[in-house]
Symmetry: C2
Subunit: 181 residues, 2 copies
């Protein structure tokens, strides 16, 4: 379902596009929220056309097919956004890693956290660049803000966790010491 909604959203926002365009849009805009490759997008567009949510508006060179969203597609998109209670479950490998850190001894845990931190600092830089490029253009603005805030939150968490664990090491402590706030 989410793939459909994402494609309808992109078509709404960018106007008629080919599967190829949508695949690129996916990578450049939805990338850090949802992922889909062309091998998933092409068949889905065919099904969506069969369901009347999009139409092939034109066919161009190299077999290029330009899809446009139909009123029915727009209605379905709007309905989903207004009525759907999105599941709050998140699947995040890096959060899983964070969760499991306590099974390492503190020195190893700090090393692992420092690697994680580097990655997130890179990501923040990337998002800030994107932010500068897109500026206050409406589409993607809120989500970019959303993404930036989350990455910054993660970095703060990493820093605080490193501090807590380091203090533990300082105390010569192992994990069963009670860690006060």
């Amino acid at each position: 379902m989410s793939l459909r909604i994402a494609l309808l959203g992109l078509l709404r926002a960018s106007g008629p596009s080919s599967g190829y365009d949508l695949a690129k849009s996916f990578e450049s805009t939805l990338n850090y929220v949802w992922q889909a490759g062309h091998s998933q997008i092409y068949p889905e567009l065919v099904k969506m056309a069969a369901d009347g949510l999009v139409t092939v508006e034109a066919e161009g060179a190299r077999g290029r097919k330009v899809y446009a969203i139909t009123p029915e597609g727009s209605a379905q998109l709007r309905g989903w956004l207004l009525e759907q209670t999105p599941s709050l479950t998140v699947r995040s490998e890096s959060a899983l890693q964070a969760f499991l850190l306590p099974v390492l001894d503190p020195v190893d845990a700090v090393a692992a956290l420092e690697r994680v931190r580097e990655r997130y600092v890179e990501k923040v830089a990337m998002l800030e660049t994107l932010c500068d490029e897109h500026g206050s253009k409406a589409f993607g603005r809120y989500a970019l803000d959303h993404g930036l805030r989350h990455v910054r939150t993660t970095i703060e968490w990493v820093d605080d966790t490193i501090a807590t664990i380091s203090r533990d090491i300082g105390h010569g402590g192992s994990c069963d010491e009670n860690v006060a706030d």
Copy 2:
């Protein structure tokens, strides 16, 4: 891969456990980071035993099998935590929804955001309860903290976004007005 690591981590943290125990642990601790049901866990444990990462330590009543992590399993867990650069891609339906909000007219967008807000307020309450229960026990503490910070960040984002859009409505503005910071 992640499922294996998660199971190894739980076995490390909680000691020898049955598949049933691990499924419950998953739900109560890893739940908001990674998900897995018993139908996925049982076969995986069998494969892990075949690979020498765990052993059946005992068999109890009702066919209960108690798995223990082997030194090889511990080594693999440690190796993954230290060396693996976890992918930063996150799949989040609610973030996708956030991304697509600009395709709605402002009044609808605010309505959608207010629904989202409710859900996250519930979630924060749930996590705070968990936090009180688990207290400062080492395992899960960092991740719980991680989760709480992220949910709170999301609520702040929702509030600020509602404010921005509401101001837009106040100005009688549609989306193509330039939204200043």
